[in-house]
């Protein structure tokens, strides 16, 4: 399936979805609440069959005050890719968990919680993945600072 065609098919699927500009692959922005449903549908659909969640991560857009969640989907059957993104507010970042759809999301979401503090509703085991439980703050947020970090001298 061509990129444009794919994008149209997916757009028909997702309510409230918009095409995300400035990416190098078919890409959509959707409301965070619709994520688990959408991913399940994309996985089940014969033409799309996005059965692998390659990657899930977040970007902290400090100026806009949002955390943008990115889901990279891949179809082992058709070989096409799709980026789904959703925005959650920085101050109260809550998103629904997609671990019911893709098993690996459990760990990927734990990592994003660890690094960005995004709380996933319905996650079976939301713990820090890489840092100690006693760690204060979420280091990949742009405004994270601690005593240990030294800036490289200019």
């Amino acid at each position: 399936m061509e990129a444009n065609e794919l994008q149209e098919v997916v757009l028909a699927f997702a309510s409230g979805a918009k095409v995300r500009e400035k990416t190098d692959r078919p890409s959509l922005t959707v409301p965070a609440a619709s994520l688990p449903d959408l991913l399940a549908k994309l996985k089940a659909d014969e033409r799309l069959s996005f059965d692998m969640l390659l990657d899930h991560t977040a970007v902290d857009w400090l100026e806009r005050g949002v955390l943008e969640l990115f889901y990279q989907l891949f179809s082992t059957r058709h070989g096409h890719t799709l980026t789904v993104s959703a925005e959650v507010p920085r101050e109260e970042p809550v998103a629904p968990s997609v671990s019911g759809v893709h098993l690996i999301a459990e760990w990927q979401e734990r990592e994003v919680y660890d690094m960005f503090g995004v709380l996933y509703e319905g996650h079976p085991d939301l713990r820090r993945l890489l840092l100690d439980d006693s760690w204060v703050g979420h280091p990949l947020r742009k405004d994270y600072r601690d005593d240990h970090m030294i800036e490289r001298p200019k």
Binding site: R20, E21, K22, T23, D24, R25, S27, D51, M52, L53, L54, D55, T57, V59, D60, F70, Q72, T76, G79, T81, T83, S85, E92, V94, H102, L103, I104, E106, W107, Y113, M115, L119, Y120, E121, H123, D125, L126, R127, R128, L129, L130, L131, D132, D133, P139, L140, K142, Y144, R152
Partner: protein, 387 residues
């Protein structure tokens, strides 16, 4: 807020009754964080019934180095040297993955010669990585000879890298636009000699290991990962292929010089430890075949298309690139604000991160010694998981 985050202690408290239910001899064991069979600083919490694993919980973070945070203040050219230190056994392919993503984003042309060099180096490194894995597999299963042999033949490859690249393990060789230095004049002759040397050695390994009854007993039917599970956890590389899904980016979306090469993708049938063993073993042969084909024609041309003084500026937007390393698909996610060579955010999707997840599925029901076999056939590199 309704969402609750837990700690490790909470988890242990929550799991304890389930873990010990019906068990006649209940134990709790920490494998790691510094255990010789874990290949690095992996810690697996094991709930045991006698010697049988009831539940395995990997605990990560003992080598989490915050590379992604550092990437937000380094240019991509500088960041590449950090990727050497992730999956250090396929350092060059990590370099390539980042370089390729940057090239695609910034629209940089790469000469056929540079692509050729990258491809042959990547295959040499895949062979090197699998040789190390073979040695370590032998050692974990109680055989010392494979360790000695694997390292003996791996070291010869290291000398080839040393001659051309100047480093043994952490190479920092592939940069956006090409490779750092042209191949050494002796390179092709040395590789040719090496290929002639390694072919009979592979046959020797096969005679020693593949038909061996002990190895067979330790691997057959242990740790079966179904194709469905493998796809759902995003397992890639030999682990996924052993489960029967022939996904190999070298075939699925060829990069470098792979579209000119003829090779087969080794695939397993049931996804047990044996299949993972065989797939990697066969991949070594395929790599050698590819190296031989590559030696046939070295294209002329420059090895680098970007001058060192040029800053490789990233256009605004989100860029994603992926590449097949020795352990699976390495994805590079770059969000750029534009106008700078420093990414706003860089994230790496490491193959072993997903592959490790399968331990929670595969370990229960098997004994600790089998868990070791499962871990070693998953071919984990812990710094790659934790980045």
């Amino acid at each position: 807020m309704t969402v609750q985050a837990y700690t490790l202690d909470d988890l242990v408290k929550r799991l304890d009754p389930q873990a010990t239910e019906g068990a006649s001899q209940q134990y709790f064991l920490n494998l790691g964080p510094q255990h010789p069979a874990a290949h690095g600083v992996l810690r697996v919490m094991l709930f045991l019934d006698g010697e049988t694993v009831v539940r395995a919980i990997p605990v990560l973070g003992y080598i989490h180095r915050g590379i992604e945070k550092m990437g937000e203040s380094l240019s991509t050219r500088q960041f590449i040297h950090l990727t050497d230190r992730l999956d250090y056994l396929s350092a060059l392919m990590n370099n390539w993955a980042v370089a390729r993503t940057v090239e695609k984003a910034a629209g940089i042309e790469v000469s056929p010669r540079a692509e050729w060099i990258r491809t042959i180096m990547a295959e040499l490194q895949r062979l090197q990585s699998h040789l190390l894995w073979l040695g370590v597999l032998g050692m974990d299963l109680g055989a010392f000879t494979p360790f000695l042999w694997g390292f003996r033949d791996r070291e010869e490859l290291t000398y080839i890298f040393e001659e051309t690249i100047g480093a043994r393990l952490t190479m920092n060789y592939v940069l956006p636009g090409g490779v750092m230095s042209d191949i050494h004049p002796e390179f092709a002759a040395r590789v040719k000699k090496y290929v002639a040397y390694i072919r009979p050695k592979i046959a020797e390994y096969e005679a020693l290991l593949s038909g061996n009854v002990i190895l067979e007993e330790r691997l057959r039917n242990i740790g079966r990962l179904s194709a469905e599970d493998a796809v759902s956890i995003g397992a890639t590389g030999p682990v996924l292929r052993a489960s029967g899904v022939a996904l190999d980016l070298r075939k699925a979306s060829p990069y470098g010089a792979y579209d000119k090469l003829e090779f087969q993708v080794p695939v397993g049938t049931v996804g047990d430890s044996w299949d993972r063993y065989w797939v990697r073993f066969e991949e070594m042969r395929q790599s050698i075949a590819m190296i031989e084909q590559l030696l046939g024609g070295i294209p002329e041309g420059p090895h680098m298309s970007v001058k060192p003084a040029v800053k490789v500026k990233l256009p605004e937007g989100v860029h994603y690139g992926q590449l097949e390393t020795a352990r699976g698909i390495l994805g590079v996610f770059i969000a750029a604000a534009g106008g700078s060579d420093v990414p706003y955010r860089i994230h790496l999707r490491s193959p072993t991160f997903n592959n490790l997840w399968s331990v929670t599925r595969l370990a229960p029901g098997w004994r600790i010694a089998d868990l070791v076999a499962i871990l070693t056939t998953l071919d984990l590199v812990i710094p790659d998981i934790e980045r």
